[in-house]
């Protein structure tokens, strides 16, 4: 019977997609997934509602990025939500999801039963990383949907005025919002990779989460001091808000591409480290 499960090329292709599908199903069977996605939907609502009830920007233009523009145009609700979430809550969610990916399975005890199946550990790590990213992408999609829905309901969706003062149509604006979210997703890949690395080093998802957040906070705090100016070009938190450059006319690509390069470097190195650790990891949980 087992011979019937020999690896033809078709089987192997199916196997790869199967690994992603299994990881996706696992995410769907976790309650916390829906909590975070629910949060991504509710936050734009709360922002829009608060500003609607206030009648105008409560900070008088001094609040978080894009907040002052919401009351004139609901298109900015998503961007305001992104600006509000990207410094801490998004990294927290990314670290939680990725930190759970391997350490959580070790904690639950399912890691040892899963690894008794003919799964390559490298493919396993890659599937975990990919699904953490897909999970976040769904979160972003939910946030965009929530932002547009509630922005539209409370303030209407209108052509956007860019940071340079020019006006772009609703669809163009929507494209820029999508690009901003993709950029933020790329930024979160660094957090995902770091949390995944810690997830391979410990059998506690909470430890992986805390270790990731602590390192992220330490880096963020360090680059606030001029003494560490030399560090700034090399650390990913420095580039988190560069998505705002999509809203310049013309788009200011240089900092965006630099940010993407740094994200790719951090993410690549950390994911490879996670693979190296997990490849030789003794599963004792």
């Amino acid at each position: 019977m087992s011979a019937a499960h020999g690896s033809t090329a078709g089987d192997m292709r199916g196997h790869r997609w199967g690994a992603l599908r299994r990881e996706w199903i696992k995410l769907l069977y976790q309650r916390r997934s829906y909590l975070i996605w629910g949060g991504a939907f509710v936050i734009p609502f709360l922002i829009a509602l608060a500003l609607y009830l206030a009648g105008s920007d409560p900070h008088g233009g001094e609040g978080p990025l894009f907040f002052e523009r919401i009351t004139a145009n609901g298109m900015f609700v998503t961007l305001a939500s992104l600006s509000a979430l990207i410094p801490f809550l998004l990294p927290m969610a990314a670290a939680m999801v990725a930190g759970y990916m391997i350490a959580g399975e070790a904690e639950l005890g399912t890691l040892r039963i899963v690894l008794l199946r003919p799964t390559r550990r490298g493919a396993f790590v890659l599937a975990k990383w990919t699904m953490a990213m897909v999970y976040l992408a769904v979160g972003f999609a939910v946030m965009i949907a929530g932002g547009l829905l509630f922005g539209g309901i409370f303030f209407g969706l209108h052509p956007m005025i860019t940071l340079s003062g020019s006006t772009v149509g609703v669809w163009h604006g929507l494209g820029l919002i999508l690009l901003s979210c993709l950029y933020a997703l790329a930024a979160m890949s660094c957090i995902v990779s770091m949390a995944l690395l810690f997830s391979t080093l410990t059998d506690s998802s909470l430890t992986a989460l805390i270790a990731t957040i602590v390192i992220y906070i330490v880096i963020t705090v360090l680059i606030q001091f001029s003494y560490f100016d030399w560090l700034r070009p090399w650390v990913f938190p420095q580039y988190l808000l560069e998505f705002t450059n999509f809203f310049r006319d013309p788009i200011y690509w240089r900092p965006i591409l630099k940010g993407l390069g740094v994200f790719a470097l951090w993410s690549g190195v950390l994911t490879f480290a996670a693979y190296l650790v997990f490849r030789r990891k003794d599963v004792l949980s």
Binding site: S2, G6, R22, I25, Y29, L108, T110, R112, R117, D282
Partner: protein, 350 residues
């Protein structure tokens, strides 16, 4: 036949003789370990282990707590990496060709664990798909085998320990593997559950599946297994057919309606020194072959025979205690009989 005694391997260095390697006779080995060693810091959990499991065996894997049983299983199934040595599973070297090996193996290590919010069926579908396509009919079949068919749509989080054990066996059976590795599969089961699992293991063996059964329940190994290995401190102490691990009885207890008269008859047959009284019984120094003639003589002399039982109750458990030198709690095993040991170990080593 003399069981293979692997102690010699531990004294002859890494390239030393592996007495267990010739034990399969005409059958092919399905799982072998070659000087398998695992070091955790200063602790050598598995120490140059050479062991052989033959196709069709129901192979008992015995040892006291901390002997290294689970570590060996983890090594063989690639969950941990050996410090040196290797295993061969279904013709594939582990860890080098682990994926190939795992295609032919099913099982679990420690307690089987599942995704608690998924149903039993969903768990099986998920785990099964990692080895290859698995049909719903096959899932139904294995759930039927382990008597969980009526709970197939229930969340595993609500299952009892015993049900999870049975589901663990079900997932091990999904792809009808050649080798099934079960780590204490009856642990936590009620007597009925234990009986069912043992019957299932026997059925698997009868169907030609090789079963590697780790257990601390010695009577379970005696009941179910055809061959066994006893492990202590990461080393194989002895391996061989279970029937030969149990020392032979060399005395018989007799209970009659008239013990005084019976003693006279038996002393006439076996000599005065051959018959002693012990707690109401007459203990006769004789083997089982002498029983028919003994009973015939007693009956012929008008003595009512009420019971004839083996005097020695030494089974695998006593033998195990002798070999490992400890009981389950780690206390030294004192004053145990050594008759079986002397027979089995080379040169009467004790």
């Amino acid at each position: 036949m003399t069981p293979d005694v692997a102690e010699a391997q531990n004294q002859s260095g890494p390239e030393g003789a592996r007495p267990g390697q010739q034990s399969c006779g005409g059958r092919a080995p399905i799982l072998t370990t070659h000087a398998l060693t695992k070091q955790f810091g200063s602790l050598r959990a598995v120490d140059g282990l050479d062991m052989e499991v033959c196709k069709g065996d129901i192979f008992g894997f015995l040892g006291p707590n901390g002997a290294g049983k689970t570590t060996v299983i983890r090594l063989v199934l690639g969950l941990i990496h050996p410090s040196s040595g290797y295993a061969e599973v279904c013709g594939h070297r582990v860890p080098g060709q682990l994926q190939g090996a795992l295609r032919h193996v099913g099982g679990f290590v420690d307690d089987p664990t599942f995704y608690p919010l998924m149903s039993a069926r969903r768990n099986l579908r998920m785990l099964g798909s990692m080895t290859g396509p698995v049909s719903e009919e096959r899932i139904d079949e294995v759930l039927e085998i382990v008597a969980l068919a009526d709970r197939s749509e229930d969340r595993v989080g609500g299952f009892s320990h015993g049900m999870k054990q049975r589901l663990g066996i079900a997932q091990a059976l999904l792809h009808s593997p050649e080798l099934i590795v079960l780590d204490e599969p009856t642990s936590g089961l009620d007597p009925r559950g234990m009986k069912d699992v043992r019957e299932l293991i026997r059925d698997l063996g009868a169907a030609g599946t090789t079963v590697f059964l780790s257990s601390h329940l010695l009577h379970e190994v005696e009941q179910v297994c055809t061959r066994a290995v006893i492990l202590t401190k990461g080393r194989v102490v002895v391996q061989g057919p279970v029937s030969e691990l149990r020392p032979q009885n060399d005395a018989i207890k007799v209970l009659t309606g008239d013990q005084g008269r019976a003693a006279g008859v038996l002393r006439g047959q076996f000599g005065a020194a051959g018959v002693v009284e012990d707690e109401g019984f007459l203990v006769v120094k004789a083997d089982e072959e002498a029983v028919p003639e003994m009973v015939r003589r007693l009956v012929a002399d008008g003595v009512e025979v009420r019971a004839v039982v083996p005097a020695s109750e030494q089974g695998l458990e006593d033998f195990f205690l002798e070999l490992t030198g400890t009981d389950a709690a780690g206390e030294p095993a004192r004053g145990k009989k050594r008759a079986g040991l002397a027979r089995l170990l080379p040169g009467g080593r004790r």
